[in-house]
Amino acid sequence: MPFEYLEDAATSDVTFHAWASSLEELFAAAVDAVTNTMLADLETIAPVARTEVEVAADPLDLLLWRLLDEVVFLKDSEGLLLRAEHVAVKTGTRPHHAHAALVGERIDRHRHELVADVKAVTLHALRVQQTGALWHAYVTLDV
């Protein structure tokens, strides 16, 4: 699982670190980290609903912020718990663009072990950076 939750970051919130060898995989891992904050076991999501989102932003970390905000938005507006099936990131021109195919299903309180509601993706110490062969993201969620 290419993400971990950090114990000694913002006290009342949730901070995660995600990593991957490409930006596409990094963004998909970050979507999982957001959903996993709300749902104990990602494997309990059946891939029955599908939605596509397109976001644009500059710099790169705000692009990830906007994508994750879509995941939080769809949780409340459609009641969906989502994972990223496919992410495409275009960084050639400004602003950067990301397109994601999100799959999942509506919250089912009998089957889904829910944890904490994510209120928002904060900008606090938000980072997306490349170190050697890996991309890393640090994100703090308000819960």
């Binding site: 939750y5 950090l6 114990e7 000694d8 970051a9 913002a10 006290t11 009342s12 919130d13 949730v14 901070t15 709300m38 749902l39 104990a40 705000l62 905000d69 939080v72 938005f73 949780k75 409340d76 507006s77 009641g79 919250i107 309180r109 072990e113 829910l114 944890v115 904490a116 509601d117 209120k119 928002a120 993706v121 904060t122 900008l123 606090h124 110490a125 938000l126 703090t140 308000d142 819960v143």
Partner: protein, 484 residues
């Protein structure tokens, strides 16, 4: 890590860090805490308070409450008053959960009367007040009706039959901020939250059945004036905010402010402190949208009270009026409001940001219900679910914090660590053994809220009293809890 060496005491339970501590600070940092609480604060609190002290237009001091902890942008437990003519408004100084707050409701029942039906009562509350991730309310609204909620707040709820005029009179600002303009909010925010009225949410949001034990009524005369007038009286306290609607209003504004800041020559060290001049079009638009979110939260708490009344009525087979289900007060702790405060002897209009800080006006302050004018504004402080909560009143000394005090016990441990240390089901059993019956939407979420993850509520409240901000009236002990 200890606080900086430059912190010095200025009065009992009040400390200061001079503006020379960090470059660009316009005012000092003033910390309201006992020595022990000061030593236990995360070092990030001081850095964040210094960042707040750099914001244009800040007046007096960047204030830190005794329950302060590391937040995003502002510390949680931070107060900053801005001169609206030259200063900024910052969503990070309010929080994503706009107008999140507390409501306290009395009953005429005593512990002995409630105990035989406690499980039935809590189970029924759990069923009737939706909680947890993505929960939806029972009120179905058209877009135009949701606009009425945003404009009228708790007044809308009372018009719909979900409460009384007395509830409104005993809510901060009468449950309706006057500057709310629904045309300033995005379709996205409405889509996210229009179906969530009457829901608790999750995280640290909860609904508790509590008892005011005889030995925990510290000021019987003031307690009686606030409706706590019999031994072992049972009360209901709940904590929640503006739900997905408010969260989206705040998120939308960050994006707008980040883009606008270069135009106003504003530079900040943390993007969570994104801000705009209060009088700029962006600042005014956010202020109007923020007041819509505040009104949504007042309406939300009013509808939840309606449900609580229904449940008590059904369980005890008496009318809610007969059961004495009356609002003591409803007060928010995540807001920015235009208020008049005296600074250096002169009355000035200020934009007071309170993030994890409760308004705490002293006796005789304008806007208090007449029955509370002599005792001061009721302040409701929620502790951790295992320990207890407080009813306080604002003191004249709260002028030092622009009429503000603490809001809770304040976390000392991250959620991720708490989840490793505590187990939800074990915690539920151990709480039941101590006389607290808990129902939760999430056992993992319950573990995150374990009492051990919080500061000592008694120490926090004692510090607010030592600093002359608020006066202890009653301490409540939980007996039943619905945790979001």
């Amino acid at each position: 890590m200890p606080p900086p060496d430059t912190v010095y005491p200025v009065a009992d339970a009040i400390w200061e860090i001079a503006p020379t501590w960090r470059q660009g600070m316009r005012v000092p940092i003033r910390i309201f805490a006992s020595h022990e609480l000061l030593l236990a604060m995360d070092d990030a609190v001081f850095t964040q308070a210094a960042n707040v002290a750099r914001l244009p237009g800040i007046v007096g001091a960047s204030c830190v409450m005794p329950d302060a902890h590391w937040g995003y942008g502002f510390p949680i437990g931070g107060v900053a008053a801005m001169d609206p003519t030259v200063g900024v408004i910052s969503p990070g100084g309010i929080g994503f959960d706009i107008n999140c707050g507390m409501r306290l409701v009395t009953t005429s029942l005593t512990l002995d009367e409630v105990m035989p039906r406690l499980h039935e009562l809590v189970d029924s509350l759990c069923e009737r007040v939706p909680a947890g991730v993505g929960c939806e309310g029972f009120v179905s609204l058209s877009d135009s009706e949701f606009g009425d909620v945003l404009r009228d707040g708790a007044r809308w709820a009372v018009r719909r039959g979900y409460g009384t005029e007395e509830d409104l009179a005993r809510t901060e600002e009468g449950g309706c901020l006057p500057g709310a303009d629904p045309t300033t909010v995005s379709a996205r925010a409405i889509k996210r939250g229009h179906h969530q009225i009457g829901t608790l949410g999750s995280g640290n949001h909860y609904l508790e059945v509590q008892v005011a034990r005889r030995e925990h009524v510290f000021d019987p005369a003031v307690a009686a004036a606030l409706g706590i007038d019999r031994p072992n009286q049972v009360a209901v306290m709940f904590h929640c905010g503006s739900r997905g609607f408010g969260h989206q209003v705040a998120t939308d504004s960050l994006q707008v402010f980040l883009e606008a800041m270069p135009r106003y020559g504003l530079e900040i060290v943390d993007r969570e402190l994104a801000c705009a001049p209060f009088h700029s079009p962006e600042g005014q638009r956010y202020f109007a949208a923020m007041q819509c979110a505040a009104n949504m939260s007042f309406a939300n708490r009013q509808v939840i009270l309606h449900r609580i009344r229904e449940v008590f009525g059904a369980v005890f087979r008496r009318s809610p009026t007969d059961l004495g289900l009356r609002t003591v007060y409803d007060v928010a702790h995540n807001t920015a409001k235009l208020e008049t405060h005296v600074v250096d002897g002169a009355a000035r209009q200020l934009l007071v940001h309170r993030k994890g800080a409760t308004r705490a006006f002293g006796p005789g302050s304008p806007g208090l219900p007449p029955e509370y004018a002599a005792v001061g504004q009721p302040v409701i402080i929620g502790g951790s679910m295992e320990t207890g909560s407080y009813l306080l009143t604002g003191l004249p000394g709260s002028v030092q914090t622009f009429g503000s005090t603490a809001h809770g016990s304040g976390r000392t441990m991250s959620r991720t660590r708490a989840k490793k240390l505590f187990r939800g089901r074990e915690l539920q059993r151990s709480m039941e053994a101590r006389g607290i019956y808990v129902r939760t939407a999430s056992y993992a979420g319950l573990a995150e809220e374990a009492g051990g993850a919080y500061k000592d509520i008694d120490a926090v409240v004692a510090a607010t009293e030592a600093a002359s901000l608020t006066h202890r009236v009653v301490r409540f002990t939980p007996i039943g809890n619905v945790k979001g």
